[in-house]
Point group: D2
Chain length 101, copies 4
Amino acid sequence: MIVEFSVVPIGRGEALAGLVARVLDLVDKSGLPYQLTAMGTIVEGEWEEVLGLIRRCHETMRGQASRVDTHITIDDRAKTDDRIKGKVREVEDALGRELKK
Amino acid sequence: MIVEFSVVPIGRGEALAGLVARVLDLVDKSGLPYQLTAMGTIVEGEWEEVLGLIRRCHETMRGQASRVDTHITIDDRAKTDDRIKGKVREVEDALGRELKK
Amino acid sequence: MIVEFSVVPIGRGEALAGLVARVLDLVDKSGLPYQLTAMGTIVEGEWEEVLGLIRRCHETMRGQASRVDTHITIDDRAKTDDRIKGKVREVEDALGRELKK
Amino acid sequence: MIVEFSVVPIGRGEALAGLVARVLDLVDKSGLPYQLTAMGTIVEGEWEEVLGLIRRCHETMRGQASRVDTHITIDDRAKTDDRIKGKVREVEDALGRELKK
């Protein structure tokens, strides 16, 4: 399955890049395929490994902030791998041209 | 922590109340405090029990549909219990009157 | 259509009930059917009136905080009115008993 | 402000790339900076132009499906432009190395 998530500390000021970097380090070291975007992180894997990673990210952030909002969107389809790039490719194929990504 | 989630089967038609009812039955039997709304289910508990419940809901739905989108929003605050009603009460206290709920 | 939204100021501390109350006052005065939950506000209406209301809520919050995250979920179905309670009723009918709400 | 959105038709089967392509064509022709990801589309602009675009996408999809779920996340910060790439760069700078994107 493919999962997008974001982990937002509330009440720690508005410049969050430093805190977000600590969380991204966990993602990078997880070994799972991922993509960082301006609005969140997209990860691909099974429930156990993906949700286990998100839990570590969430708890690391909670260690830094007394309130944390975490958003998770799961797209789970009976299907193969390489969906992070594959889904974008399917849309481009249907449209007949490349899009910004 | 307090968590809102929705589990949406894609490609099973648009009248989803029957499928959603099977999922809600799992929530109801979990013993966790919850509230059903028109847009999702709000549950209160620790990570393990809440995310374990959402996993069972997600997998039950995936047994019925080959594609499932699940949305999860976690509000985790160093704080006490009874947040499902407590958060609404705080807003009403700040506003000085009752709101529709 | 039926819409859930939340407007979260980032970097204004974690006790947000006072700021949220100012926003809820706008909702309450809009005249649209709504429900306040622990995780957001559910409103029913047409695109113009609902998104116009959310814009006023978002901009009021931005007047109080230099960074605001707003989440909007729209469920738009060729259908009748009274969906805030109707959707919950459908699930209960399918399940054959009442649920917590 | 920077906005991620997804427009999901319910009940039209699970292979949605063709329908999504029609929507992406609207985004591509809007002239706004955007990025297509596996989980949604990220757009940058003012409220009027971004929400106007999302409305056209939503209504185009509703012309093809009798039920549509649209998710919108707005990150609005008193700040400059080029946030789609800028936010990712800030996280990488804080981490001291490049990440997958």
